[in-house]
Subunit: 124 residues, 2 copies
């Protein structure tokens, strides 16, 4: 994978933002710095970075894919009103992959936990 300014900026902006943006949202953010960037470039780079394990994809609702730069084990909470995705600490459900193996014999490569509800901001 060769260097590209586009990829560097995409990754930096994703890292700066705790909002777990979609490709579309990230496209808008990147365009502030790089007005001629193509939406295809954003998708291409996000998929490449995810493929390399440098970022993660989050399948949050039934529609758009969100992206997460945080590689540590953790989970997510999506607000069904504002659609924001929040991080949830690993401690909430630790060792579930081990529990899966004990209970079912299945080996999981990944465990995605997604809570759905209304965030504190939208409650008020």
């Amino acid at each position: 994978m060769n260097y590209s300014k586009q990829r560097e900026i995409i990754l930096r902006i994703l890292k700066e933002n705790p909002i777990h943006p979609t490709a579309d949202t990230l496209y808008d953010l990147v365009r502030d710095e790089l007005p001629n960037v193509s939406l295809a470039t954003v998708y291409r780079n996000l998929n490449q970075l995810a493929e390399l394990g440098m970022i993660r994809k989050i399948c949050a609702l039934d529609d758009k894919v969100h992206f997460d730069h945080n590689l540590e084990s953790h989970y997510h909470f999506i607000c069904i009103k504002c659609k924001k995705v929040y991080d949830v600490p690993y401690d909430v459900a630790p060792n579930i992959t081990e529990a899966l193996r004990e209970h079912t014999g299945l080996d999981a490569l990944a465990a995605d936990v997604l809570f759905k509800g209304i965030c504190n901001h939208c409650k008020h």
Copy 2:
């Protein structure tokens, strides 16, 4: 919601099948009994039934939505090779909604857990 033969058959076939089918797969199954059914009807009914809480949607990969007639608390395992979705018992990660509240103060209306890996069938 008025009765319709289409909805009855769609729901019955979903209940008969443990495979967590997509709308597309279900469309094929329903057409065996009701050759003139429309794909739009399948989508419309699945969404209505999900809206009413009579079935559940599973956001499994980044692409298609799967449907689940099992309303009991349980989780899922998707095989990254054959794409089949298997049920995982609730015991593997019990009380995670309570754990979420204790750790974060957030109230979750739902908790979706999706393990990814290779199923025993595809391993051999």
